[in-house]
């Protein structure tokens, strides 16, 4: 990577701060992003699990989807926008509580995953009929085009181009955020609250991508640097880059779009059936419902599973998975070294007959078969806030 090509990339509002902190910047989804700071991936990962890590995730897409069928600010308006987005996702959005977040997936007509996303119903009565969406950076343009095309005449989409997104994750995150944004520490897991900070409105969501308690804070670009610095001023908070974000989410058993899930994988194959609402299973009415409901009833042909290599050698993305008899049954979609597990961890797809925890497998690493086992995920226990 040369300096010239990095300069062609988009920059987040925290770019100067990353450089000041000594970040190693890399291209990611069209942005120059910090892959690590001088502490390095291993320490950033462990610090996040022990105290709190601050991540710039401003490359992700943020938007408000609003109904145009009913005036905003009523229960009916929420029903209208929920019914609209439910034509694209299999989640129960209609019954989402005010101020609640839901993990969901955009589906194509074959039941494949176009992206995974967070859908939030605002808490305020005056905002009923709007949904706050956070989507992956790499496919955000496609997601937004999908919403505009498929929901035209029913909704409008306001893409929040001038908002940054900061994630603060780890057991100390709640105390740090509470000090700056009072009330946040008492927020339930998977809830969002709009709060005032230095004269601007920030959206504080208790969620994350590490398996730890934590928050994602949507803040206007104009105030993102100040908020990041205020968070970093706390002695428990250290900056963490995309490298640590990846190893943390892998240990937490969470999918990375484009790797562990894509247009060919269904939510059932991907072990994301929890994202398919009970009413939706009965009613259908989402793209690819025929395939997905069949897979729910009969079990899919392949499943995403956690895999622990028995030795110390990591098995990376693309590693072939075989039975102990040498028959190819799948492929690793994410793999590496888990700093908190202190050993190699991986996830991948295997033929359904080999998906039970405890099943012995071989991983073909540099031409050699390494013994491994299917294990239940997460690799590192989730420690979400449970009130």
């Amino acid at each position: 990577m040369t300096i010239e090509s990095l300069s062609d990339l988009k920059r987040t509002a925290l770019h100067e701060l990353h450089l000041e902190l000594g970040a190693k910047m890399v291209p990611f989804a069209g942005y120059a992003m910090p892959v690590q700071y001088p502490d390095g991936v291993l320490k950033e990962h462990l610090h996040t699990r022990e105290k709190a890590g601050l991540f710039d995730v401003s490359h992700m897409g943020q938007a408000f989807l609003r109904t145009t069928e009913t005036p905003i600010g009523s229960e009916e308006a929420h029903r209208a926008v929920a019914d609209a987005i439910e034509t694209l996702v299999p989640g129960e959005i209609r019954k989402l509580k005010k101020g609640g977040l839901r993990y969901s997936v955009f589906l194509n007509d074959q039941g494949g995953i176009l992206d995974d996303l967070m859908i939030t119903r605002p808490e305020e009565d005056a905002r009923q009929g709007a949904l706050f969406l956070v989507v992956n950076a790499a496919v955000k343009d496609r997601d937004f085009d999908l919403l505009k095309e498929k929901l035209s005449g029913r909704t409008t989409l306001e893409i929040l181009e001038s908002r940054s997104l900061l994630a603060i994750q780890g057991p100390k995150a709640a105390g740090v955020v509470e000090a700056l944004l009072p009330g946040s520490g008492a927020q339930g897991f998977m809830t969002m609250r709009a709060r005032a900070w230095n004269g601007v409105e920030v959206f504080v969501s208790r969620c994350g991508y590490t398996g730890e308690d934590g928050f994602e804070i949507s803040v206007p670009d104009t105030h993102a640097g100040d908020l990041a610095r205020a968070l970093l001023d706390h002695p428990d908070v250290a900056p963490a880059g995309l490298g640590a974000r990846d190893s943390l989410r892998l240990e937490a058993g969470l999918c990375l779009y484009g790797h562990d899930i894509d247009e060919t994988t269904s939510p059932v194959e991907a072990d994301l059936a929890f994202a398919i609402g009970k009413r939706r299973r009965e009613e259908g009415g989402f793209p690819g419902a025929a395939r997905i409901l069949k897979e729910l009833a009969e079990s899919p042909k392949r499943k995403r599973v956690g895999i622990r290599p028995e030795g110390r050698a990591p098995a990376r993305e693309g590693t072939e998975i075989q039975t102990t008899d040498g028959v190819r049954i799948g492929v690793v979609t994410s793999g590496g070294f888990g700093p908190s597990v202190n050993g190699p961890v991986a996830m991948g797809y295997v033929a359904a007959d080999f998906a039970a925890p405890g099943t012995a497998l071989n991983l073909i690493v540099r031409g050699k078969a390494l013994a491994a086992r299917v294990v239940a995920m997460p690799f590192a226990p989730h420690r979400y806030f449970r009130g």
Partner: protein, 123 residues
């Protein structure tokens, strides 16, 4: 003792008639925290530039190439047991292998310290 370098960031120095091989400080810094090392078996022979060992950080795996042709006579089990040693002292205690060179004069074709430093400056 003169140390020689490759463009792939291995170092090699002669100790008697044995060549000691490792990766440079620059390579270790670029990799980040080393979490896994795989070394060849003693007795195996390699040509110059052959994949000889593997070193992995949290994020990525890298091959280590044989800087010269020769036969492995010893490997540093300490870095297999404790990969972090590679970051602590890559050009000293964290050597990778010892080789019996097929031709000791092959070292002369590698970079000296000044040439390697120049390579890093121009990278």
């Amino acid at each position: 003792m003169t140390v020689r370098y490759t463009k792939d960031h291995e170092w090699v120095r002669m100790e008697g008639d044995v060549a000691v091989v490792g990766i440079t400080k620059h390579a270790a810094e670029q990799l980040g925290d080393v979490v896994f090392v795989e070394l060849p078996e003693t007795g195996r022979a390699f040509g110059q530039g052959d994949d000889m060992a593997v070193v992995e950080s949290v994020k990525a795996a890298s091959d280590v190439y044989a800087p010269i042709a020769g036969e492995i006579v010893d490997v540093n089990q300490a870095i297999v047991d404790e990969p972090a040693k590679v970051n602590e002292d890559p050009e000293g205690a964290a050597w990778f292998v010892k080789m019996k060179p097929a031709d000791a004069s092959a070292l002369d074709s590698l970079m000296d310290e000044a040439a390697y430093k120049k390579l890093l400056e121009n990278a």
